[in-house]
Symmetry: D2
Subunit: 348 residues, 4 copies
């Protein structure tokens, strides 16, 4: 039985707590959050204690594994402390608020990085994972193109949320930057990003965009497109389409049910979930289960996706960000160089 300490008690922390409850091999024993009532609520629901601080959780020898679901600026110090303290760590994305901090933490972790799994939950979506498995097994031949489309939900985030979110590239699209690497098994060379505010002026107020398109050329020449919109009136739509020289594979739209009507001149089938959690819950649950499996495994195994994956995704996000700001195609190599990373560890 893995004893889990939960750091953070916000929305995603409560999602993880709920999914942990369905895992027979783990239980939450302590919850820490600067806002104590939130910690108390989750602790109460799951029969855990409220810890005085994240540090208390990390110091507790009875705790085997730590889930870091606190604000982004705390990820790096907590991950470093927890991993050095011998915990298995599940850390929410993104790794850090800045690429510099992400990289220095990666360096500071050294071998301890193996203990840290990064919360790229989409890798655990059964449909997305089937696409990756086909590609990894070479069943589609050489990859020609990848199209990733992720839209929604149908609500507008608050200005307060947007201001601290890190922006579309770091907050959301980082999942898809990770996915292009995971799907193709290679790194991007060139990145170009376009962004607009169309759905709602609040995004402009937050100095963010609501509609982003990023194109990447991978080392092999495979071309990848990512469309990511913060809002789609019709719901939450998260898809992958890969064209290979051997055929096509898609992780297609997921709808709410299987009722079909034919009225007048239209066939009406059920639409997409409005709530992102309806679409994403299975992948969150699977990622938490994978983390518990990892926590139960012998030392020496490397967490996947790991810190290096988180760092690589952040490099691409930084390239997209620079592309958008400077209105030009950006090479990932530039980002590495600016950050003093180039050449090390085979990165990018």
């Amino acid at each position: 039985m893995i004893s889990v300490g939960l750091i953070g008690a916000g929305r995603i922390a409560s999602v993880h707590a709920r999914h942990l409850r369905g895992n027979n091999f783990a239980r939450i024993v302590a919850v820490a959050d600067p806002h104590a009532p939130n910690a108390a609520a989750i602790a109460g629901e799951h029969g855990a204690r409220v810890a005085a601080s994240a540090e208390e959780i990390i110091a507790d020898p009875a705790i085997d594994a730590v889930i870091i679901a606190s604000s982004t600026d705390t990820h790096c110090p907590l991950m470093l402390a927890a991993a050095k303290a011998g915990k298995r760590v599940y850390c929410e994305k993104p790794l850090a608020s800045t690429l510099a901090e992400a990289y220095s933490t990666y360096v500071a972790l050294g071998a301890a990085a193996d203990a840290v799994m990064v919360g790229f939950n989409r890798r655990f979506d059964r449909n997305h994972a089937a696409v990756q498995a086909d590609l990894a097994a070479g069943r589609l031949g050489k990859v020609q193109t990848v199209q990733i489309t992720s839209r929604g939900p149908n609500t507008i985030p608050s200005l307060d949320y947007l201001k601290v979110s890190g922006g579309l590239f770091f907050d959301k699209m980082i999942h898809f930057f990770d996915m292009v690497r995971w799907l193709t098994g290679e790194e991007p060379v060139d990145v170009v990003a376009f962004g607009s505010v169309i759905a709602d002026p609040v995004f402009a107020e937050a100095n963010d965009i609501d509609t982003g398109m990023v194109t990447l050329r991978m080392k092999s020449g495979a071309l990848c497109q990512i469309e990511n919109t913060r809002r789609a009136v019709y719901g939450y739509d998260d898809r992958i389409e890969v064209l290979g020289t051997g055929g096509l594979i898609e992780s297609s739209r997921i709808t709410e049910g299987s009722v079909m009507r034919i009225i007048d001149d239209k066939i009406l089938t059920e639409g997409l979930p409005k709530d992102p959690m309806v679409r994403m819950a299975p992948s969150y649950s699977a990622s938490i289960n994978a983390f518990i499996d990892f926590a139960r495994s012998a030392l020496g195994r490397e967490a996947v996706p790991g810190v290096k994956d988180g760092l690589q995704a952040q490099i691409i996000a930084a390239a997209a960000d620079r592309s958008l700001r400077e209105g030009r195609i950006v090479k990932c190599a530039e980002i590495l160089q600016s950050a003093g990373i180039a050449g090390e560890d085979g990165l990018a």
Copy 2:
């Protein structure tokens, strides 16, 4: 170049004429119809002459092939005369107004029956034919069940039409009685029919039904259901579904196009054609092309579907009709016996 004489100038005759025009190996040379203006219209459109009578067409040595699309009561004498005169004959369904006449014509034709193709156009629908091909090749194993659903169109026929149509079983469902034999490669043993008037009271006025369900048990034990409605508000829907011990095969719904919208909580795709001819035209065209191929072939080949197929379908229609009138399961053997057919020619 096959010279074709067209007997009849109604709706289906004009459909056949139009499809003949697309065949490079045939042309209509003469059209006969008791209502001369109709004949003149079709003749004019296709550069043919108006014949004084069906008999004139049959007697014309320059005519190679005859299409009989006149009223049902004329089918038998015309088919007999034309086949005996050495023409290749395409005869619309059903063979005759009565089973007795159909059978006596079949007997009278003797070997000349080989020259007569019956207008079961659905055998030439590419999707339906793919189902049959899989079954004939044994790719689905043993047939467990067959479901045939045919609905529509979304208009109500006139009382005048209904009064002379022969009724749902002989006018429409005869196609599906032919199809169960064609698909399974065997004859039905038991037939039971239910019928109702739900869509419109005009069907009751015509002493007909608008909604029919017929179940058949085939020799092998395979069970077949036919749902046939004269009206479906949403359009023309014509499908087959076969469950075999090796899998399932369907000839699925055909829609009007490939536009898809997602609005609010519904995915809206295009509906079904309202006009039966939009759904059925390709199979009519293919059946006429198959007839011209047959007309161009050396003597000795047997037309498929032929007179015997028309007769067998009519036997099943008679069984369904008796089942509905008498409220009981009817054996095809009973029908054969009543009609003095039993035991002959391996029928049923």
Copy 3:
């Protein structure tokens, strides 16, 4: 918190126990089964005690609600005792091994019948329920036809199971007999059944069929077809299609996922679940939740579906059974008359 006693510890009992665990308002407190180790296993898993007998559970004043998931022959006496003892009762289908027993229990229950919910779980399938809701609200106009197709799974039941199952009509198709009533809101007048053994000879050995087709004419003239096969090589397929004068509604196939491939000349999407429980679990879960809601409600509410629904479905099953054995269309009124039920309680 509703304290539940579970009578029976077989496969469906363990399914119910698992679903109860997900309900925050109920807990299993006792489990009884003639085979003690089965009871102990379920009791152990859910922190309940093993009861000495069903009677002990029924006599326990601390138990609010009883789930009867024991063998069919025990349903009637247990349901009667439990309801008379003031428990809320969830009873598995069918009500009884014989129609006579079902009817006498219904009569003996009197007003206590209101406390008994019958386990027609498909009424709680969200997609099937959407069909029913549209029909009940009149959104499809008058019902013309209903097609219910239920196939699978892809395994063959054991001879031992088949011998005690009650046969296809009473064991499985009883769900669909209930559904035609529920969907159309009316009773059948005429019933005709065909059955065959095609998938495997074990069904003949058990004096059962593996492939059944039943057609029903409802009071309004609406026609209903049920295809029910015990085995479909491709998995578990459970669908409804209703044609009304206002349009069509379907509860369509449910597939295992949303991965799509295009290889060569085929589009390949995911197939159907092989395990019936994958297809049916949500409806079982929803039916148990509905039962707990009912158990928590004030007295005076009538359980739906109730004993009368169970009885009506059993009357139709008896009609189908007689139809198959006697090779004729059977009127439900005949069954009522033979069982001495006719005229009472507005049945059928």
Copy 4:
């Protein structure tokens, strides 16, 4: 009856000739091609005469309309001569081999440009046109994103063809550059293109690419992605997807038929046509019919799509070409300026 002169007798010319045959208001009277046997073949098939030259056709007062389907370098002089001679003109895309020639021809045409329709056949695809109609009517709100995907066929073009094709952007993607303008009703501001050779090295030999991705930012901020591959092993796939603030609309994949099989754990439906003409024929036919309608209309109407549309698409193709060669985002304004077009005629 419109008398049509056909200039060019290659593949696309024969396609147009065939579609003209199905139009009751037009006939081909003359065919000209430098390679006389080709002209003779088409002329023979359609009962037309072989003209000595394109000039002879243009000079013939009995000819009402001219279809220019000759090599790209001849488009401009022929279009100019024919329009000035008072003919209605259908000219294949692209307008010219160079943007300079396209622009000077546009200027030289002046008001005569109204007589020239450009062969952007996809505007006449019924499904694509339904998307445009929804957008033009504002039914989708503001456009957020447009995704155009066009892939295939499954064959590799010859090196000889590729060398004279003008390259992916001018030969194929020009259709989609036209479509983004047509769909959004606005011009692009920024264009960025990525291209790779992945499917076959012959494309590198021809100094072309087989896989292209172009992203465009429109004036309103709407973002458009175009994926265009010269080869897709699975067939010819041509789709549009538009996300608006009011919903989503797609012109979805078109498959070869409606046969569906469920075998083992897969649902197999029919794939995509391998022959581009199977996919595209209806839009070619509709575009020719639209041209004949235009030719029959009174003077003063402007052909749509017209020369200006052809020019605008060519400007975007030039921007994409420069983007790919120079590895940077290109503004359409730059292209206008280089070509001495900027500011004139409201272009771009």
